[in-house]
Amino acid sequence: MKVLIDLLRYNREFLLGTILISIILALVAASFFAPYDELATYVVIPDMPPSAEYWLGTTSRGQEVFWQLAAAMRNTLLFGVVVALVSRVIAIAVGLVSGYLGGRVDQVIMAINDTLNALPNIPILLLLVFVLRDQMSWPILAVTAALLGWQHDSRLIRSVALSLRNREFTRHAVFSGMRTGQILWREHLPYVMPIVFYTTMNNLIWAIGLEVTLSILGFSDINRPTIGGMIYWANAHSAMVAGIWWWIVVPMAFVVILFLGLFMLAMSVNEYIDPRSRLARMGA
């Protein structure tokens, strides 16, 4: 707790990131108190500009932009977090094991890793969308994206694990009777955490970008509000041409706020979690 207060007080990026992400989280929290069903259309007067009554205006489909945005942000963020978490678990497991075991095992794992990495992401996802059609749901899409999004990061983690494997403290741990899992989890994981945090941020942004791209193209469940979905509907109703600019500008602005906030947080947290600065704080 004290750490958080210190970070807020001494680290400007952390402060700014916290403020931006707080805005996003407040919006997500607000989505649970929405006065209308997020899937319902024509519940308000369409095409109203931002005003005291409709803060961010209304859409041509008769939905309030504010409440649509709140629900969209929640869904998009949820998608990104699921992708990032699932792909982190895979990346850490593969990277640490491959780096620690080394030798032949490492070569085989890395060959598979690089093959998967070479697969093009968007075509695979599109193929999946076409094959599954109506069975396509966001959790399936999230898991597929996660399976496509860890290879580069596992390679980064492996390179650190390879150097850790030859450190004297690893040999010492082995002779202390620590088992492989224990060594990876307790001795090596702290050293790859900076990479994990940094890549989580990248992965989150990548996943959200992927969701937005697929939704804009209409390759997802378009009735479920997401940031990309909002832009898809706005385009479908030629919002820009019709002068309903707020329908497009608002989701875009909030994506930028989200990305900026994540970036700032990742940067400052990274500085904090780095073993070197951790040791400096411990007084080493």
Partner: protein, 343 residues
Amino acid sequence: MHEVLSKAKKTAVTPKNVLTVEGLKAYYINEHFGVRREVRAVDDISLTVQRNEVYGIAGESSSGKSSLIKTLAGAIRPPMRVVDGSVKFDFGGQSIDVYGAPEQLKPARWRHLSYIMQGSMNVLNPVRRVKHSFHDFAYRHMGLSGAAFWSKVRQHLERLGLDPDVLEAFPHQLSGGMRQRITIALATVCEPEFIIADEPTTALDVLVQQDVLGLIKDVQARMQASIIFVTHDMSVHAAITDRLAIMYAGRLAEEGATQALFDNPQHPYTAHLIGSLPRIGDVRVRKSLPGKPPALSDPPSGCRFHPRCPLAIERCSREVPLMQPSATGGRVACFRAGEVVAA
């Protein structure tokens, strides 16, 4: 500028001394996420180094010896700061006040003041031939044309017993010992008056160490240069230094002529350092000191050695002993200096 000059006159640096350090205090002042830590790495040190002398500084880890030489070389940067005291060089009448007028130091580097460091790779560029390092470090300072410069460099290498063809080699093609010899050649090619040698033989094998130490002594004697030689290894100090200072927890414990210090240590810490060294042909049991070197961030009160000292009395924990002239012609900071018996 005028202030600096008048200040220099007041202290009246004797021309014999190449380096005069007075009451030097350099602290690390660290603020990390709101926690302020002050580490007194160099705490009130005064010493002089004379022309044509090898002055040794001995100390363990966290004795502050590395911080001291960084401070002497004007190479400290935040969070480390000089809080008090002065460091003055005198190169043939040209005096330089390192912390009074720091801009004077820059032109003197390498020309008058050079360094031999522990890791030779810090000096030699690993991806370029050795000759480029010579060019980068020395060319500007020598004021010679290209051909004259290279003939001077080759001549210098030959004088040190090194094959001038090493200029064409890449550092990784050479052994650690050879690289260290080259860094010595590099540090001495401008014939500087003052050399700072920081653990130059620590990573070397015994046979190579013998040769490298001989080389340093050779060059120093030929050029009549002064060297500050820092190492934790007392046997190396015995071999190469003329005078020796023992540092403990950021302060000087004792200083004196090396032979006198080894024959008749006046400080219990010195006596222990010398007495605990094993020797081939001597099977007596060596004792170890209790406790551990103190952390500089939280040093003991009074004499910083008192918690580990076999001769400590109550006064030692209250009062800080000052450096006083010792019975053997050096200086010592100990209330019971006369009672120390060499182990």
